[in-house]
């Protein structure tokens, strides 16, 4: 019976092609389709923010310069990684990353929680020439970022493209994208306050590269680096990472952990 079935399907060209396609797509269906149907693949958190236009522009520079070739943005569920980098990455933290920057190549350190770890000045010096701040670094310098003005005219189009793939940017955010980018890099300006109104008060307004008269690619990249791991507090709330205990009595922390 099986013999006859095989003999038959093997000799029907179109039928055989369809059978191959069906067999080959099982892997894809099992791995990809559930991401759209299973509710808990991406954690549901209320405080997840979207990238501001300036951060989004910085993200594109990060991709353009190939930073992902040496830096991952994924703290794995391994004790050593959590010990060094902080709480392991949650899916929701890259919910608005299109495409995501998880990566697996670590010539440099993981950057998933680099935001807020170092000062803007440090990042500016480090981008200009990494050896100025980390003598043993083998990272190349990116000195042109500081002198290249950011093309803010394309930001509304960038935001629209992100909205097309599911990032909840509003019409107002898209219309004001260029102004918001300028505002985020110009502390105390009217545009800065407007950007904070649109993107929430956790939006980091700063001079980033230290110069407020011009928005450069360095401003955008530093803004992006400083928000990595800062878009939601979910990773600190839902995990047992030691850092995850902001509300706990410090002296009692180890004991409580051991009881779990």
């Amino acid at each position: 019976m099986a013999e006859l079935f095989h003999r038959k399907i093997e000799r029907t060209a179109i039928g055989f092609v369809l059978a191959i396609i069906a067999a080959a797509s099982v892997g894809g269906l099992v791995e990809i389709a559930p991401l759209f149907t299973i509710d808990d693949t991406v954690e549901d958190v209320a405080d997840m923010r979207v990238y501001t236009p300036l951060e989004l522009a910085g993200r594109d520079i990060y991709i353009r310069e190939g930073c992902y070739a040496c830096h991952s943005q994924m703290i794995r569920t391994l004790a050593d990684e959590v010990d060094r980098y902080g709480p392991y990455s949650l899916a929701v933290e890259s919910q608005y990353d299109h495409p995501m920057q998880w990566g697996s190549k670590r010539t440099g350190p993981d950057l998933a929680r680099i935001g807020g770890k170092y000062s803007d000045v440090w990042h500016a010096m480090h981008m200009n020439n990494p050896r100025d701040v980390v003598p043993q670094s083998n990272m190349p310098g990116y000195p042109w970022l500081a002198t290249t003005p950011l093309d803010i005219s394309v930001l509304p189009a960038k935001l629209s493209a992100q909205r097309a793939v599911g990032v909840p940017y509003t019409d107002e955010m898209i219309a004001n994208a260029a102004r918001d980018a300028q505002g985020q890099a110009t502390p105390d300006s009217d545009a800065a306050f407007e950007a904070m109104e649109r993107y929430g008060e956790k939006t980091q307004v700063s001079a980033f590269d230290g110069i407020t008269t011009q928005v450069t690619e360095l401003d955008a990249l530093i803004a992006y680096l400083q928000v990595l791991g800062q878009l939601t507090q979910a990773a600190y709330v839902d995990t047992a990472a030691p850092e995850a205990m902001p509300d706990e009595d410090p002296a009692g922390a180890p004991a409580t952990q051991a009881e779990q």
Binding site: T37, V82, K117, D120, V133, A251, P254, Q257, A258
Partner: protein, 295 residues
């Protein structure tokens, strides 16, 4: 469709019945070893499906009989790590700084663990040797901008940061006297000369004594409010002493002029959420220890 079975006389195997230019293909069975390997791997896969989280089923997935969850595994591993360190971290948590410092065994733990923590978190700015560089203070020289250099003061700086986003952050900002037109170019230059002469008595010569005296007036009117009449600053408010040989941004005349012109506002991140209280206490002791007995 012919169903003739032809047997190869040499091997005794059946042929597939296909023929290409007189060459026929044997229908040899899969070797037993490979067949067994395939069966075993399939059985393993089946067992894995049953025991581990595997298959999507609509809105959920099969959790597996073992109930293994990566998140729980790593959490257990972290708890185990903490337990392994508990023998000394509990003492760090509970004892005051001076008692920890008196306990040599405990200080060995502090130096080992502190070195790791410093490398992961602090070395990027202060350098692995903690000697700092322009913009980033040397932590080994016993000269402190904020606090008296005691472990308590260092721990507080670690916790809240300087000009950071922390609610209780230490804050200090030097205004941009030149850029914001509080002083004119001449006044900036005079003040810089005066300040330079405080730490370089040789710089005061009969030719520029008028300039320096002018600078003294500018200093008294504009700078003394923060830096003090005698320019010795205030460690409780992060105001640097201008009379010593230690300069964060550079003590040459050009850099002093640049500082007065553009102002300064250093930034130290807060480590309150990134590090645990134990880790911050360990780091404070480690950094204090680097200064080797400095106050």
């Amino acid at each position: 469709m012919s169903e003739e079975v032809e047997v190869d006389p040499v091997t005794g195997e059946q042929t597939t019945g296909h023929e290409w230019n007189g060459i026929k293909e044997l229908d040899t069975a899969v070797p037993r070893g490979i067949l067994i390997f395939i069966i075993v791997t399939h059985l393993f896969a089946f067992g894995y499906w049953v025991l581990m989280p595997a298959f999507p089923i609509g809105w959920t997935y099969t959790k597996g009989l073992l109930g293994i969850n990566q998140h729980e595994v790593v959490e257990q591993a972290l708890v185990q790590l903490q337990d392994e360190r508990a023998s000394w971290t509990q003492k760090i948590d509970q004892l005051p700084f001076n008692e920890i410092q008196a306990d040599q065994a405990l200080m060995t733990n502090v130096r080992d663990s502190g070195r790791q923590l410093f490398g992961d978190n602090c070395a990027a700015c202060h350098g692995q040797d903690a000697r700092g560089r322009s913009n980033y203070p040397d932590l080994t020289d016993g000269d402190w901008l904020w606090g008296d250099g005691s472990p308590e003061a260092i721990a507080e700086t670690l916790r809240v940061g300087i000009n950071s986003g922390h609610a209780e952050t230490r804050m200090a900002q030097m205004p941009a006297f030149g850029r914001d037109a509080i002083l004119d170019r001449q006044q900036v230059r005079q003040a810089a000369l005066y300040i330079y002469s405080l730490s370089h008595p040789d710089a005061s010569t009969p030719e520029n004594i008028d300039q320096i005296e002018g600078g003294r007036t500018v200093f008294a009117d504009n700078c003394a409010g923060c830096h003090g009449e005698n320019a010795q600053g205030d460690r409780e408010a992060g105001i640097p002493n201008l009379t010593d040989q230690y300069w964060l941004y550079g003590g040459d005349l050009e850099t002093i002029i640049e500082t007065i012109h553009g102002g300064r506002a250093g930034h130290m991140p807060t480590w309150d959420e990134r590090l645990t209280p134990t880790e911050m206490k360990t780091l404070a002791l480690y950094v204090h220890d680097l200064g080797a007995g400095a106050p």
